[in-house]
């Protein structure tokens, strides 16, 4: 189909203009900022410091422990979210009469935003746990992480469940019948037939959970905050505090650039690896 240049511009230019303005330009300005030292005040000049910000990052104890904490959190949460999500998907794809009701209830938490979820669970981990004598989890450096894992799992399990359901439904009936004719038991079918055929769903869900968990911010802010001695501060909140609370704009931006690099490398690597293990239907 032949389209005139004028129409092409009219259809695409407005969105591209906004997109460049909001995403592309700030991204490059951001790379620039990361080489400067600046306190964010217009009257103060930014000083070029080269790679100094990136070097300082590795000597910043608060940052290092926050990044490690986020990594540990992500590894645990990715596991719990996906295990629970697969389990839910297997339950609601059985012949149970209540499967649709169950699906509705299990998916609900995903629609409530992370910030509100954090506050809802604060009622549990703080008020209810104090009430029954289990102590306040939201201010404890270990139990606080556990609390965040639980809230994230609660939020995301129903979401990945939906993706796994789509994957399970796509498995042709004759494959399952063939397995049962060949005398495969429930667990044999599960591990030898269903799971290998679910590899595309694994790829998607691992990607979604990896990047979402690593970027955790809302739940961190509402459930625990940075915690005593910043012992519960996650990577995102660390960037936010560095820039907007401590006014180290250049240094905080360097952390933000590293944040992007980690997410890009890890998620791309994960997609490449799991894609290789997908089997043809």
């Amino acid at each position: 189909m032949k389209i005139k240049k004028g129409w092409y511009a009219l259809f695409t230019a407005p969105l591209m203009l906004v997109f460049f303005c909001v995403v592309v330009i700030p991204f490059f300005i951001g790379i620039g900022y990361s080489f400067f030292s600046w306190d964010g005040l217009a009257k103060h000049r930014a000083v070029f410091v080269g790679f100094q910000n990136f070097i300082n990052v590795f000597q910043d104890g608060r940052f290092i422990s926050s990044a490690l904490r986020t990594t540990v959190f992500t590894l645990i949460a990715v596991l719990t979210v996906n295990i629970l999500g697969i389990f839910f998907a297997l339950v609601v794809t059985t012949k149970l009469r209540v499967r649709n009701l169950a699906r509705t209830m299990l998916f609900m938490p995903y629609l409530i935003g992370g910030l509100i979820l954090g506050y809802i669970w604060k009622a549990v981990f703080q008020e209810y746990f104090l009430n029954i004598g289990w102590g306040n989890w939201t201010t404890d450096s270990v139990k606080g992480i556990a609390a965040m894992v639980i809230v994230t799992t609660w939020q995301m399990a129903g979401y990945v469940m939906i993706v796994y359901i789509t994957g399970i439904m796509a498995i042709p009936n004759d494959v399952m019948e063939a397995a049962s004719v060949d005398g495969a038991g429930y667990f044999q079918t599960l591990f030898k037939v269903k799971f290998p055929l679910l590899m595309p769903s694994f790829t998607i869900c691992l990607f979604l959970t990896l990047s979402n968990c690593f970027k955790i911010y809302d739940v961190n802010v509402s459930l625990t905050g940075a915690g005593p001695g910043n012992a519960l501060e996650m990577y995102s909140l660390n960037i936010y505090n560095e820039i907007f609370s401590l006014s180290n704009f250049g240094y905080g931006q360097a952390k933000a650039i590293i944040f992007f690099l980690i997410i890009a490398v890890v998620t791309l690597a994960q997609v490449t690896i799991t894609k290789k293990r997908e089997v043809a239907m």
């Binding site: 629609l111 998607i204 509402s222």
Partner: protein
């Protein structure tokens, strides 16, 4: 015969009970929002003895709830409207005119979906302030400014989803319309756009969940009280007052009511949209 039937009923009942246990935090905030303070700390999991609405009244007032709902509604609806209009137009153009520029811009849109918001938040705010100071267009602490930013951030996902769908529909209808004398504008809006409805639903659902619940971006730009969205006024509520948990729980219940209504009305679309978005994204 009877024992298998009994087993089935038992299994169904257990599943529903477990799902109810799963939603325990919701029950906790619901039941305690009606209790008096003394009653609440006496037994947090009991049902309320009487239905007192006093905490709801004070929570609604302190959160400025109805203004927040109005702000959130306007922000979400208008943002999604512009995202749908502009990304469908752009995606169609990219798919139908296969030149190097289209491919490059499309790839850029998709690639930037990997950039976490934290990486560009600071330079974005700088740029928006700069636009405000230089051109006198208020971009920060302004709802239109925020809508502009949502359009930029929503472009990647929107164009990507529409592009995938357009590639799958035959071009012959559009050619026929052109021969009948429709210009490009009319061809798009009267022939193509109606066919894109499934993708439009997906985009709407995904963006409602995202924009309605988004906290970090609005918290950076919307500073005045009158502009606050639901997540922001909830965060302010929890930050500002020495929390009376009865009131806080009432506040949380009312903030999730719009989400629950949305879920009950559009459940089918939501589940389909989320699945489609995840699988294609």
């Amino acid at each position: 015969m009877n024992s298998t039937k009994f087993g089935r009923v038992l299994l169904n009942t257990i599943t529903v009970l477990l799902c109810l246990v799963y939603l325990f935090p919701i029950y906790l905030i619901l039941t305690n929002s009606f209790k008096s303070r003394a009653q609440m700390y006496e037994n947090m999991i009991s049902l309320p003895k009487s239905l007192s609405l006093q905490y709801y009244a004070s929570a609604l007032e302190k959160m400025n709830f109805f203004t927040s709902v109005k702000n959130s509604l306007i922000l979400t609806v208008v943002s999604i409207l512009v995202i749908v209009i502009f990304s469908s137009m752009t995606a169609w153009m990219f798919a139908r005119s296969k030149n190097r520029l289209s491919t490059a811009l499309f790839n850029l849109l998709v690639a930037t979906m990997l950039i976490p918001f934290q990486t560009i938040m600071m330079p974005l705010m700088q740029e928006m302030n700069w636009i405000g100071n230089t051109f006198g267009i208020k971009m920060t602490d302004s709802v239109p400014g925020l809508i502009f930013m949502y359009l930029g951030f929503g472009a990647g996902m929107g164009v990507f989803l529409y592009h995938g769908f357009v590639t799958g529909i035959p071009v012959s209808l559009e050619e026929a319309a052109t021969i009948d004398g429709c210009n490009t504008w009319k061809t798009f809006w009267s022939i193509v756009f109606p066919m894109l409805k499934p993708t439009t639903m997906t985009v709407i659902i995904l963006d409602v969940i995202w924009i309605w619940n988004d906290y970090l971006l609005p918290s950076l730009t919307l500073k005045s009280t009158g502009n606050r969205t639901i997540p922001i006024s909830t965060a302010k509520f929890f930050g500002q007052y020495t929390i009376s948990w009865n009131e806080a729980m009432a506040a949380l219940v009312v903030t999730i009511i719009p989400v629950v209504i949305f879920y009950l009305i559009c459940q089918k679309y939501i589940v389909e949209g989320v699945a489609a978005g995840a699988v294609k994204g």
